[in-house]
Assembly symmetry: C2
DNA sequence: GTCATCTATAACCTTTCTGTTATGTACTGG
DNA sequence: CCAGTACATAACAGAAAGGTTATAGATGAC
């Protein structure tokens, strides 16, 4: 992922309204009106938030009649997560808590089916490389 | 993690200079002068970036003689990652790639010692809950 | 105490962000 | 085709971000 891509994704995620929009889209595609309703904010304001999210690649859009449906595109979230993973070694025991969280989710969705353990994930890593982040871009 | 906390963490990560500073700190604590050197930017500018990182909890600082050392505090990164995990279900096969990445790191750091496998992590999750993000804060 | 060093703050400027209201545009249904 | 619905864009305003230079403050050495 490019430095600018990270700028846009993290920048998009830095706003609570936009995170709420993503959360709403997680439960299904929605048009602008539906996305505007929960907020005390004008429709144009939401349209611009949507544009920010679209530029970051976090949503895609298509027409349906006169409406435009927004669709969650989580790939950039994955890339952001992958970037964070570069610092996983510094989470140390914190990482284990995250891993425990993952396991919890796993178990919950595995329901009564085969239980799946995640062994070997509790070892403490030593210092390794981290993305150098020497992008040096300027405004 | 609070909504404002996420605002600050993601906001801090949205700047390439700040990400580069974090990357530098991953290789050890550093004073302001050392952090300024790699950039074509004044020392006060870096001091302000450091303040943003500090407010987000991403660094802590202590004095050593006349210098002030910055220290990476990765806990907020972990929390940001945990937030992203709320969308893991949408990564689907993408998630498996992230998991593969984790496995790769595991293996690399495990070196010639005991090889550790991560079974059961390739199952595709179904829809679940996602942080609702209805924070509704305003500026 | 005084000097030297390292960092923070003040004051300022420009650009970007985020919201507003008003208006334009695109698509559909009858 | 024309009226209505749904959304986008324009124009504007205020606040925040991010940089600069100049200067103040804190700390250790002597």
């Amino acid at each position: 992922m490019t430095a600018q891509g990270l700028d846009e994704v993290f920048g998009a995620l830095a706003d609570p309204t936009r995170r709420a929009i993503l959360a709403r889209l997680a439960s299904g595609d929605a048009n602008v009106g539906e996305l505007t309703a929960p907020f005390r904010m004008s429709q144009p304001a939401i349209s611009r938030h949507l544009k920010v999210l679209e530029r970051a690649g976090l949503i895609s859009r298509r027409r349906r009649a006169t409406a435009r449906l927004s669709h969650l595109e989580a790939e950039p979230l994955r890339e952001a997560a992958a970037w964070l993973v570069g610092y996983r070694e510094y989470w140390e025991e914190s990482y284990e808590r995250l891993d425990a969280l993952l396991s919890t989710l796993d178990r919950r969705e595995a329901s009564a089916s085969t239980s799946r353990s995640r062994p070997g994930t509790s070892a403490k890593p030593k210092r390794k490389g981290v993305p150098d982040g020497q992008d040096q871009s300027h405004r």
